[in-house]
Symmetry: C2
Subunit: 366 residues, 2 copies
């Protein structure tokens, strides 16, 4: 059981022997050259974007075609022989903060005497824009960022952290001035990626008032090579844990379904946490409806992250800030390697394994 069987078939962009990157589909430890096998010009490009723009009907057709080709024994390339690339040319990148457990933990750490959650938190999925140009594929080394730490002291970040998240990839855009309703989620969102929102806590702590995180986050965001289509996650939908107060009409009630995805965080070969995406407070469809309620338009290639996935228990925390809880040695040392793994119920009765997200820390430069 590789987790990459016929019920999964995630999409990625690969090249072979230095030729032009193109779209492929993964089956076990092999890749089907979907561009060549289908002759579809939108797949013979260096990102999934042209294919994503074609919309849900074509996504369904193409998935069926890929499955048919593979069942019919179409030749594939060994995964070990190909180079994998960033799967999506990211248009806008937005990051949310949708885990109540994470937001509560962070509130307790930073404001021990105040309310753990801020007044807006249960009314809307808090989010902000991140840097699309520094979204990198799994395996890209992460250079330790330098910058201003509290008090305006310059230096390399001493509190380098991860945020284990799920990312949602938008396929079909929308019109400026027209919100996307909560029940139109599947008309726009193609699938999901694993996502590590690398964070320099000391840089972030100094800069973030009043306009939010900037350089503490913008040095790198890693995503998996493989994009799992929503169709492969049909067996993973679950009810959210519950929302109180009841969200405003534009945020539901039909949008209160989450995903039963298990996450595993490994640092230097040791599993340090196992959060579950099913414990999130705000749903993927609610985040999308909120993102556009002011009329902001979507574009093909938009990416939005869930925010750190933390569960209710101490061994389910999605960031080292929470895992260490005041212990500075929990942050990442030079050379540290982080692997995020994700799995979910597949439609075939077993489990599928989403694309992993790997990154190793390189020392600060200069």
């Amino acid at each position: 059981m590789s987790g990459f069987g016929l019920d999964h078939l995630p999409y990625g962009v690969f090249s072979h022997l230095g030729d032009t990157p193109r779209v492929g589909v993964r089956l076990d430890d092999t890749v089907l050259d979907l561009a060549a096998a289908t002759g579809r010009p939108e797949l013979a490009t260096s990102s999934l974007n042209a294919f994503l723009a074609l919309g849900p009907e074509v996504w369904t057709e193409t998935r069926a075609q890929a499955r048919e080709l593979l069942e019919g024994g179409s030749p594939t390339l060994p995964l070990a022989d190909v180079t994998l690339h960033l799967p999506v040319e990211v248009a806008d990148y937005v990051d949310f903060y949708a885990s109540e457990h994470h937001a509560t933990n962070v509130g307790r750490i930073f404001r021990p005497d105040g309310d753990a959650l801020l007044p807006n938190w249960k009314h809307l999925p808090v989010g902000y824009h991140g840097r699309a140009g520094t979204v990198v594929p799994s395996g890209t080394p992460v250079v330790r960022p330098s910058g201003q730490r509290p008090g305006g002291v310059f230096g390399a970040s001493a509190r380098l952290d991860i945020e284990a998240e799920l990312g949602f990839v938008v396929g079909v855009g929308s019109r400026l001035g027209t919100p996307v309703p909560h029940d139109a989620f599947a008309d726009h969102v193609f699938g999901v990626v694993g996502l590590n929102d690398w964070s320099a806590r000391d840089i972030q702590a100094w800069e973030y008032v009043p306009l939010g995180p900037f350089l503490g986050k913008s040095f790198a965001t890693s995503i998996s090579h493989w994009v799992t289509p929503l169709e492969a996650l049909e067996a993973a939908w679950v009810d959210l844990p519950g929302q109180d107060p009841e969200p405003l009409p534009y945020l539901g009630p039909g949008a209160t379904r989450g995903l039963d995805i298990d996450v595993e965080i490994e640092v230097d070969g040791v599993v340090v946490s196992r959060p579950s995406y099913r414990d999130m407070y705000w749903s993927p469809a609610q985040m999308l409806a909120h993102l556009t309620v002011n009329g902001a338009s979507l574009r093909t290639g938009d990416l939005y992250g869930s925010g750190t996935i933390s569960g209710p228990d101490a061994d389910q925390r999605g960031s080292l800030l929470e895992i260490g809880w005041g212990d500075e040695s929990a942050f990442l040392a030079d050379g540290a390697e982080v692997v995020l793994r994700y799995s979910a119920p597949g439609t075939g009765g077993g489990r599928i394994t989403l694309g992993e997200v790997v990154g190793r820390i390189e020392p600060a430069r200069g």
Copy 2:
């Protein structure tokens, strides 16, 4: 004196009689079809990006060539006969907060009993990422956004505002992990645009803690049709008013030059304010050095805004929040039309007029 003489020659993207958009240069009230006149393929495209990526030497050559063609009497099209488009395909959009007068005014309005400036403000140019996909060209109508206002009440924004800014367009990208030094500004930045960062103050006030502005800004950001190259602003450089404490080495000291650009804000035909960009605290080169000090890479088409341009006097405020100072009737009504105008000393001894930024408010939908 049109302000668009031979010492200006800004770049834009236009189409004529419904044909394909391409790059042109403006002279007075005419447009030179630079794509046709030079035969350069990078100019025969629907954005300036391919041309911008060619770098400063080609920018200088092309400007000289355009001037030569126009002096030689090359035929031009009347401005009235062409359609103007968004000049740049925006990669990442960052907005700064670089006016001390604006930040102080906002601090006094929102925190009357606290310090007007937050502790980090004089140590670094505070900034955040905005939504690149909703940057629109001058003249695009702005639909009044709806969303959550304080307390989680849903409705159309009742505090719709402007922010008069200057935008900087990046031509040449940089490598991930390698900061851009403060003295490399002109190797990367091609030129400037007028910029209106439309803001829904009530939406922003409720959502912005702790991750910054999101839907209060992301519905629209308007920029001028014309991009003024830095070469046309050579006579406009002035010293900054002064910085105390002295910035960290990565922010200067060679980067402490500002631009002597006058701004005029007109609402419904009445000039309501005349700020000057020469009064800004942080310089364009300092903002760029800060943006990349953590190793974040630049891409062709990146756009960064100065933040609201406010001067020391009451008639030099760059937002209606400041102009009204507590008077709710200062915010924009449906149908209101805002025009931002910019002028600067030209290299020919007179003044040049940068591209104006126009927007009219349409009523909220639904």
